[in-house]
Symmetry: C2
Subunit: 207 residues, 2 copies
DNA sequence: TAGATTGTTAATCGATTAACAATC
DNA sequence: TAGATTGTTAATCGATTAACAATC
């Protein structure tokens, strides 16, 4: 399943395809063409076909894609057919939003550890978990085995948290702090933050 | 200030430049080169120069960019030198995170209206604001004049909220719901959601 | 002046879209 | 069979990077 080298732009569209075919599945539709998907998702049909073709021949000429099969394949590609355990550091408002947002992917993605540096938050109960000190993450990582780390702390401590995660063996990180993280080449980081999004949108307002 | 046609990729980097020069300003540094910025932000110096050059000649050959001047210019370009009033619909965990996240850009970006459809949340106090029914947004829009709308509701009602915002005269929308919104050509929408981000990252985990 | 760094043009790289043979 | 739609190659478009004259 390790394909040539799929571009990030392609990978970022896969969950969108998956979500759509899951909706179709729920609606009892069992076949869909790239043209129909494109219309719904506002994407070029050729792009959808090309994206999917990187991973195999999922469609049938003259017919389209079998919805259930495509959903299963996309789940496999995204590793969403297996349990994914996430360590979340930073239990502020955003961290809380993420924690209580459990319905990720059929609960296959679960937040399995909550950490913070603020003593006031220690042992705070959030869903089934309790907030622990950041120091505990390394110990927990050994028993739990986190696949993804989420950084939801202020910018000034993001790099520190990132370094701790990497020491824990976490190689995939989602960073919500507005800061550019420095990581070794084998670590995969995606940074996105609400402030930056909002500020860039402000460019488009016409006074 | 309406330049040719700046690509979205360029616009999305502007807040990153701004944040960096603001940090430099705080640190008392008054000149910076594209090379230094590139090293810090992990970007190609030529790209930084080219991005900035779309908007004017902000640097001095042989010297670099004057930090304070550049910060002021970037604020102007992003309209962050004027008050920006935001309408936020959906006061769930994410909406709360956004509301309490007031320190956007020197408070120049302010959430000026909070709306929800859940009767249980009506009149709830969040910071200086009270949650109002979605229906009230149109009336408020006339007096307040929102420049940006933020959608923080579940996917199934995102399109509806979007339509209401457009009817209010809002032309710039930030959508946190996992759904592809249909809007007229003159409306600017940016969609980003945590589930999709996390799912696409799952691609990179190696079992 | 010599060294540094910009703004900008040209070259490269990558991503999207069009076109179409294969085939269901 | 005729019509539809895939998978894929080629063409296009756009974004990034390299190179360098201008100049501080």
């Amino acid at each position: 399943m390790k394909e040539a080298k799929i571009s990030p732009s392609v990978v970022r569209r896969l969950p969108i395809y998956l979500r759509h075919v899951q909706d179709l599945l729920d609606a009892g539709i069992d076949t869909v063409s790239s043209k129909e998907m494109g219309a719904k998702l506002d994407l070029n049909p050729a792009q959808i076909r090309k994206d999917l073709a990187y991973f195999g021949e999922f469609g049938r000429k003259g017919v389209g894609y079998e919805v259930e099969y495509l959903a299963r394949k996309l789940e496999q590609i995204l590793h969403l057919d297996q349990q994914i355990r996430v360590a979340l550091v930073g239990v502020g408002h955003l961290g809380m939003a993420l924690s209580n947002y459990t319905r990720f992917q059929n609960e296959r993605i679960t937040i399995a550890g909550l950490y913070d540096q603020d003593p006031k938050k220690m042992n705070m109960q959030v869903g089934k978990l309790r907030v622990k000190p950041l120091l505990k993450i390394e110990e927990d990582a050994k028993t739990i085995g986190f696949q993804i780390g989420i950084i939801a702390v202020p910018a000034f401590s993001a790099q520190e948290v990132c370094d701790v995660m990497i020491r824990c063996g976490i190689r995939v990180i989602l960073n919500f702090a507005p800061s550019s993280l420095k990581v070794p080449a084998n670590i995969h980081v995606r940074s996105t933050d609400m402030t930056t999004e909002l500020q860039s949108l402000a460019y488009y307002i016409s006074e």
